[in-house]
Amino acid sequence: MNVLGIAARLPTSRLIISPLYSPFKASPSSHIIQQTKSFSSSLINQVRKGNDKYYKILKYVKPIDSTVYQAGQEIPRGFKVPGQKKLVPDYEYETMYFKRQNRGLFGGLQRKRSKNCSEAKNKTLRFHLPNVQKSKLWSETLNKAIQVKVTTKVLKTITKEGGLDKYLLKDKPARTKTLGLLGWKLRYEVLKKQEFNQLPVINNQQVFYIHKDGKQFTVGKYKLLNELYPLVQRDSYYPIGPVEFKRNHNYLTIEEVVNKLEEYSFDFSKVTVA
């Protein structure tokens, strides 16, 4: 049979198979999109074909928008502003597959697939779920027991690491990938608590915040806002109600509130300790 004849009969698109050929070429529009929104697309590129242990986590990962937006910046087209503020930092490795691994400490374990084989060699598909147990794990930093669903493998790892906190705080790429969403949230909680624990106690008074210039505050944000309210009201021609004040000031961080109070030359002696 004539080989060339077959080649001639094939559609042209099948003949142009070369490493140089790719249907996706860089266009100016794609450049613009990159400027406005930069997703963490590099994660998908990390997926290797070979012996990547966490290829399943990376494969089914949900891309997140890591752009830091500024006030006054134009809202991108089709962008949905969330109704509530985010309480936890974005987790890059939140999987969209076998979602129960986001609600417990699974350590990257997922559903596996295999076949049942009968005596007559009939094969039927079946699955294996990870060995998940409900248990209470003691966190030394938080000083409380946390009830979580944990795989036995993770339980073993926790004992090996020497506690839940050490398991959560280990700063290796493999650990961040296998933590899961719940682990990520716990990690944030623990780190926040650690930051708080480092703050000193002076004259039996807990310091909540240390400003850049060294002022040590013994009160929180909301008590400082109460101090700010009469100053703002005095500054305004029209009366400002408490609701309106809350609406415009509650979202500020404690640092910003202190900066505002400094503008009014507020006497910090009541709220700070030396």
Binding site: A71, I75, V81, L87, D171, R187
Partner: protein, 318 residues
């Protein structure tokens, strides 16, 4: 006679001034004496039916009956029925029995003379003419035809001139239309005009400028929006605090300078080249040689990137 008289209290009467126009029309239609039954001949399909103006003989026209029982009579047209292509004439009547509920009270008998349908083809258009002595003569047109159109003020529409065939100088004008009488539901012309007429001009916009904001959606998705202070705080997620290990690492590397790649000097290039030449000269296997040759031609993107990076950094530093 029925013994049940209670219903009479709720019976609708025409004399009642409070009844609506539709109810009034319904009563009048029910009490109207229906026209004589089916005319001789076949019924005409709706698509073939023509209006009286298309036919050329309209109500109020004078016609001459040229065939049938009433041959030779001259009469005026009461109405034209398109579905049977017949005319009701004022003179051509027939005695017929009418049902009791339709019989007018003033009539002594159920036998009433009523107009009789006359086929259209048994009728010819006629007209009156006064001669010199003042005597009225009737002229019957054998046939007629339409000429150019004009606007008839009486009918308020465009109508063709009607002339006798082969005698186009003889025009048979359209009859005087029956004037509509005002009834209790009609509105006077001046009032109707006064209430419904409004001056429209391009100079004055239909919506006042102050009210435009009410019609436009300030929250439209097609409008450009900017992040407010609150929205920014909702969109931007908090940052993960650094762990103690990370802080220690950063503190250690604080004073250290970042590694800067410099392009290779000529001396080092020569050294590497000589080493490579020595190594290649020792190779005897032609297959390995060809493989190395192919390798040297292939482009490694990471290597190129590093080279470009080092070149750009050296430019910045100088």
């Amino acid at each position: 006679m029925s013994w049940h008289t209670a219903g009479n209290r709720f019976a609708v009467e025409v004399s009642n001034p409070r009844i609506t126009k539709t109810v009034y029309d319904k009563i009048m239609r029910a009490n109207k004496l229906p026209l004589q039954g089916e005319a001789p001949g076949v019924r005409i399909a709706k698509r073939d039916q023509q209006s009286e103006f298309e036919k050329g003989i309209v109500t109020g026209d004078l016609v001459y009956v040229n065939a049938g029982e009433h041959k030779g009579t001259i009469s005026t047209v009461i109405s034209y029925t398109a579905s049977t292509n017949t005319l009701y004439l004022s003179n051509v009547t027939q005695k017929s029995i009418i049902p009791g509920h339709l019989k007018p009270e003033s009539f002594p008998s159920h036998l009433i003379e009523r107009p009789k349908p006359v086929p259209f083809n048994q009728v010819k258009l006629a007209g009156k003419e006064k001669d010199e002595n003042g005597k009225i003569n009737y002229i019957v047109a054998e046939d007629f035809e339409f000429k150019e159109k004009y606007f008839d003020e009486r009918y308020q529409r465009w109508l063709p001139r009607r002339v006798a065939k082969h005698h186009n100088e003889i025009e048979i004008p359209w009859p005087q239309p029956e004037l509509l009488k005002d009834d209790r539901y009609s509105t006077q012309e001046n009032i109707a005009l006064e209430k419904s007429y409004e001056v429209q001009t391009i100079a004055r916009p239909p919506i006042p400028r102050e009210a435009l904001a009410e019609f436009r959606n300030p929250y439209s998705k097609h409008k450009k929006r900017v992040f407010s202070e609150l929205q920014v705080r909702r969109v931007n997620a908090p940052k993960m605090p650094l762990s103690i290990e990370q802080k220690i690492y950063l503190a250690k590397n604080e004073g250290k300078e970042k590694k800067v790649y410099q392009p290779l000097s000529e001396e080092i290039k020569e050294f590497i080249g000589s080493k490579m030449a020595d190594h290649i000269s020792k190779i005897d296997n032609p297959a390995l040689l060809s493989h190395l040759d192919a390798l040297s031609n292939s482009k490694i993107p990471d290597f190129e990137k590093t080279l470009a990076n080092s070149e750009s950094k050296s430019e910045n530093s100088t």
